[in-house]
Each structure stands twice: as structure tokens, then as C-alpha cells.
Amino acid sequence: MATSHPVVLAPVDTLLRHELEPWARLVEQRLEAGNRVVTLFGRLDRSGGVLTTAVVERAEGELEVLRGQAAPQASFASLTPRFPAVQMFERELWEQTGIVPDGHPWLKPVRYEGARQQHMRDHPFFSVRGQEIHEVGVGPIHASVIEPGHFRFMCHGEQVHHLEVQLGYQHRGVEALLLTRPARALAPLVEVIAGDSSVAYGWGYSAAIDALAGTTAGSAADVVAGIALELERVAMHLATLAGLMADVAFLQGGATYGRLRTAIINRTMRICGSRFGRGWLRPGGPRFGLTDHLRNDLKATLAAFSRDMAEVNDLVVSSRTVRARLRGVGVLTRQVALDLGLVGVAARASGVAVDTRVAQPGALYSGRPVVALTEPDGDCWARARLRMREVDESVRWIASVLDEPDLHRPGTNRRVRGAVAPLQPDTVCVSVREGVRGPVVQVLETGGDGRLVHYKVQDPSLVNWFGLALAVRNNDISDFPICNKSFDLSYCGNDL
């Protein structure tokens, strides 16, 4: 069986250019066949037209690139009414290119970029009519130390009928900035797209540049990057669990998960200098390898960590108050998760086994498989339990590769300049990495001179936010904080 790869190169001249409507029908056929749309977006052409791109995951995890072309302001019959999984993609396509998905039920800007900045009032919120219906607006600034976003609840008494998540406050113009700097020097910018996923982004970007340059970082380099990614996953799951425990006032759990996270990120810092794994991965391979000393240090840390983690998990899971607060709250059924095309933890906690480390294992995970864990119930409890189990699985995976040879090699604090050969011209490169929230998708396209003409960034949160909106329906509004924390989605990853 051929191995599906997390990085795919598609020379532009091998891609058929479909007219807009036939392109949309092609995507529709794929959706009908049960394939997943990984991303879908457009870009302005130099001639003023629009080029559209859809990346579809076919059976066996193969990634297919479908290209369309359209005149400015052209429209096509929206796929959203039949396939809500593409609703955010269509909204973004419209916002970024002006192409209109006709019949989209809720065509609103995703993040109010460009000329629409600060124009959030131009689009009213969804309104629910009826006696005793009232609205509650929260944010953009929230009570805690977190990123901004606006949540508008349509409530009947204490019960939420509908939640509209209005983001965009974090919009920094990332995609435009990425095109203003040299393609191979983007790592420090890519690492701050969503800073809690620096490794997933940094690795995905580096792998894309390597592929476009026709080089491979090598097996040891891949393993080191894989370790970096799992350390990031463990740290962020712990941050979520700590927050969740604080939200249900189970303070001992919060304090313990918090200090366990400290141990993990400090270990990451010992290896690469940053508690967030920044500066670790670059085109050409990791800048820091694992010397014997670091390797033993990491082993000892993980051994002690696993013990304490098991202990606190046991305490939390057996606590009646925690169960009472999280069970049956914020339920997202498997069918809804499938319909919305949810990814990552949000999908897996509803019983949908999607994980790009399994679907596109490449050389790294083929020989060193990861188990895609799921929970059946789709409630806050399931998302919390899944995070606990994923932490264990990540630790297991790291332990299983730590004794591989040559892990110290990729290091040597390599120089950055001149490390990469020229990039292959006129090529679309799709790069996917399974970050803590799900697949971090980056699609780079080079022009005739090998420079980047487009850089599409897609955080898993873009599609998953709507999952949160549906999960809180018919729940008490007071349960929103724990629902939100149990998903723990990225604001800046959505807003770019």
C-alpha cells in the first residue's frame, strides 16, 4: 500500500483548471462520495480573475488538489445547504475574493479583513424572535487572560437557543505579510500565527519549504520534529485541563495540571531555548537535536510526569463534582460532528476517528504509528477524558522513539542562510500537521520565479468554532465557559 503523505506537491500545469461552476460540482461529488474537504479557498489572479483551490482527502488518505478559475464577482451555487462542512470555507472565499456562493444561508465575513476592518456592525447577528427571547453579548474582552472574541447568545430564560461566534478581533494580516518576506525566512512569523501551536505551524512550513526545494530533512530530523510536536500537544492539553478544572472550581486539579505543564514546557525550553518550541524547527531540519544528556533528561521527566499525571487523573475522574459538572454538558453528536466536518479533538471526542498522523502518516508515522483515540459521548467530559488519554498516548509515542539513533544529529544549531536550495517554480504545496486542535493546513504556491505568490493558512479552529456553537444549544448559558474551555479553540488561528 502506498503511504499517504502529509506534504503534497502539485505542479500548476498538471492541475486542470475548471470553470467555477464545474469546479464546485466536482467538490460536491467528492463530498457526496464521503470525502473530506481539507481546505477550500481562492486567490486573486494577476489578470484580475480568481483562482480557486480545494484540497480533498480521498480514500486511503490521498490528498487531491482541485483547481478552478472564475471572473471577478462570479457566483456559484453554494454547497453549504447540502454540506455544512464547507460553510466557513465558502464564507472565507467570499470575503477574500468576492466570489459569491449563491444560497449560502449565512454569508458573513469570517474575520473582517481588508476594507471591512472595524465594520463588524455592518452585519447584524442572527436573531431569534419570540416572547421571552433575549440576547446576551459577551466580549470581545473576556474576564480571564485570554484572546478576544464576541459571543452572542439567543436565550430563552437561562437556556441557549443559538450562539453566534463573532471573531476577527485578532486579525493581524498574516497571509498578506507572509508574501512580503523571503519564502525561506518565514519561520519566526509562521511560529506566531497561533503561538500555542508554534511547533505544528513551524514544522508544517519547514516541511513545505523542504519539499519545494527538493530536499528532505531525513529520518532523525523527522523524529525530533515529531517529539517536538507531541511535547506541544501534551503541554496544551494540560493547559486546557488546568483551565477546565479552574472553571469547575476543582482547584487541586487545576494547580496540579498547571505545574505538570510547567515541567513539560521547561523541558522543551532546555532542548530548544523556548517554552513554546520556537526556533526549534526550520527548513532543512531542526536546529536542536537531542544529545544523550537531553534524551536522559527527557526520559526522567516523562517517567515522573506519567506517575503524577496518572495520580491526578484518577483524582479528577473519581471526583463526583467534576463528573456532575462535565457529564452530559455541551453534547455534540457524532452525526453533527460529521456534518460539520469537525477535526481534531472536537471530532474525536464525538467518536469520529480523524487524525492526519494516521490518515497521512508519511515515513515518520508509518513505521511508528500513533493511535487515533476517540470517546463516544461528545460532551465536555468526553473532551476532557480524551485529552487525558491523548497525553498518555503522546508520552508513549515519545518514549517509543527516544532510543532511535542519530537524534543528536539534526542539531548543531545550523545556520539559516543558504540552507535551502531554490524553490520549485509554479507549484502548489499542501502541508498538513496534526496540531493539538487538529490539522494545521498550509498551502504554498510558487510563481514562475520560485517566489511565493500565495500562502494559505488554515487553522483547525476555523471549522471547529461552529461545533462549539452547536454544542451549547439547549444548554444553560452558565455552562458556556466550560463548553468553550473543553473545545479550547484558537482565536488568532481563526483570525490570522
Binding site: 476592518q117 480571564s144 486579525h171 512580503t180 506566531v192 498547571g258 523556548s274 520556537r278
Partner: protein, 253 residues
């Protein structure tokens, strides 16, 4: 109950006894500039720096680094052929003036902060902070959040993050300041009662950092309300924040 005691026992003592004397092993701070002369004509560091934090000049202060821009990526260190730039884990980097973040050959680290008598008197025993992220990538936010965990535990110094701006003395600003957040930020600031001050946290808040030059930013707020404390880093180590505030307010540790 027994489970709880077990977890408590394993927890042990986690707090950092004296943040001023902590040793964050492996932390990569901004590069240290030594007096070793550069190779003639070499500008490798300038070329490689992602945030234009480095300037090369003639004379005694040959290499200058703006900590307000530096994201501590270490790329310049890897490029430096003479070892003029080397790794450092000095975390006491906060400054009370923007100019104080300029380091280099002549002054490799910022001057120690002077205690502000006025701030000491007002907030030395109790400082309430309101965090506003304006385009922050969640790294600064997580580090600010970590300040209240069992390791850094700033509550013991009377420093807390509060929910309402009405209760806040200081505004902790993270992120490069997006246009879409401009009015919310202003509202929050206006809702804070005087006396109040701004703490700019991270390269983004201080200078725009890696996002400097983006059309989507609106940094006018800082021109009106200059920060009282600058905490550099990407993200800053929590210790940089703790020590900065303790030093500025003259709080014992």
C-alpha cells in the same frame, strides 16, 4: 480523600522561592553582544534577523539590538562568524523607557530598573491588572496566565489579574494591536479608574514585532498612553514580567 492527599504529597513545593534569583535553565534570551569585533563588512545578523532588531554602527557601540523588536529566535547567533553575538539566558530585561530596551556593545543588558516612589506608594502592596490581548498569538497570554500558577504565584506579592477594568490599576497589553480591537481596547482603558498605567508585554505590543508593517494594525493607542513598563520577549519569560514589576514597584521577594 486519600487520592487528594496523594496528589498533594506528589505536588510538594512548586513555587519559585525568589524569582529574582531563579535560573531558567536553557532559556534563550536576546543575544549577548560581546566586545569581540565583527568581521569587516559582515552584516549576516542584520540580514537574517526577522524583525530588524539589529543595527550595525561605527564606533564603540558597534552592534545594537532593540529588545523591543527582538523575538529571541537565535538566528543571528547561528550566523555570527566571530562569536560577537552569543546565547544568553539573562531574563531581567524589562525597562521603564522605550530607549532602555536598546542594548549592544556598550551596554549588553538594560540598566536595572529604578524603583518608582509614586508607584511603590500606590501599588506596592496591591496591584490589580487587567489583561487585553490585541492580536496576541496566545503565547504571551499563556505566560501571563502562568504568572498566577503555583510556580510563579504572583498573588503572594499582592499582584492579581482581575476580570473588570473597573477594578484594575494596570493594563497588561499583549499583541501587535489590531485595528479590529482598537475600539474595544480604548473602551477598556476608559473604564479603568485613575491612577492607572500601561504595561506593554512582548515584542508585538512594544514594536509590532513580527507583524510590524502589517496594514491590519492600529497602534495609535500607545502614542497617547506610553507604557510605564516594557517587558520584552516572544513571549517574555514569566520571570521577566515578575522581576520587572517587583523592581519597578520596589516589592521585596
Amino acid at each position: 480523600m486519600f487520592k487528594s492527599i496523594k496528589v498533594r504529597t506528589s505536588q510538594g513545593r512548586q513555587y519559585i522561592a525568589d524569582p529574582r534569583r531563579a535560573e531558567p535553565v536553557g532559556f534563550r534570551a536576546a543575544p549577548h553582544v560581546s566586545s569581540t569585533p565583527c568581521e569587516a563588512g559582515c552584516d549576516a545578523c542584520v540580514e537574517v534577523c526577522p524583525t530588524q532588531a539589529i543595527a550595525l554602527c561605527q564606533g564603540a557601540d558597534a552592534v545594537r539590538i532593540d529588545l523591543g523588536r527582538c523575538v529571541m529566535c537565535g538566528d543571528c547567533i547561528a550566523e555570527c562568524p566571530t562569536g560577537t553575538l552569543s546565547a544568553s539566558s539573562v531574563f531581567k530585561l524589562a525597562a521603564a523607557e522605550r530607549q532602555g530596551l536598546m542594548v549592544g556593545t556598550a551596554r549588553p543588558v538594560p540598566e536595572p530598573l529604578q524603583v518608582s516612589a509614586a508607584l511603590h506608594q500606590r501599588f506596592g502592596r496591591s496591584l490589580k491588572l487587567r489583561s487585553v490581548s490585541s492580536g496576541g498569538c496566545n503565547a504571551c497570554e499563556l505566560e501571563m496566565h502562568a504568572l498566577s500558577n503555583v510556580n510563579f504565584d504572583i498573588g503572594r506579592y499582592g499582584i492579581d489579574f482581575v476580570a473588570s477594568p473597573r477594578h484594575a490599576d494596570g493594563l497588561v497589553l499583549t499583541g501587535p494591536m489590531t485595528r479590529n480591537m482598537a475600539s474595544a481596547l480604548q473602551l477598556c482603558w476608559d473604564a479603568m479608574p485613575a491612577p492607572k498605567f500601561v504595561i506593554a508585554v512582548g515584542a508585538c505590543a512594544i514594536s509590532g514585532g513580527p507583524f510590524d508593517g502589517s496594514e491590519a494594525l492600529e497602534r495609535g493607542f500607545l502614542e497617547q498612553f506610553a507604557p510605564t513598563l516594557y517587558v520584552p520577549g516572544c513571549p517574555p519569560h514569566p520571570l521577566t514580567f515578575v522581576c520587572g514589576v517587583l523592581d519597578l514597584l520596589g516589592i521585596e521577594s
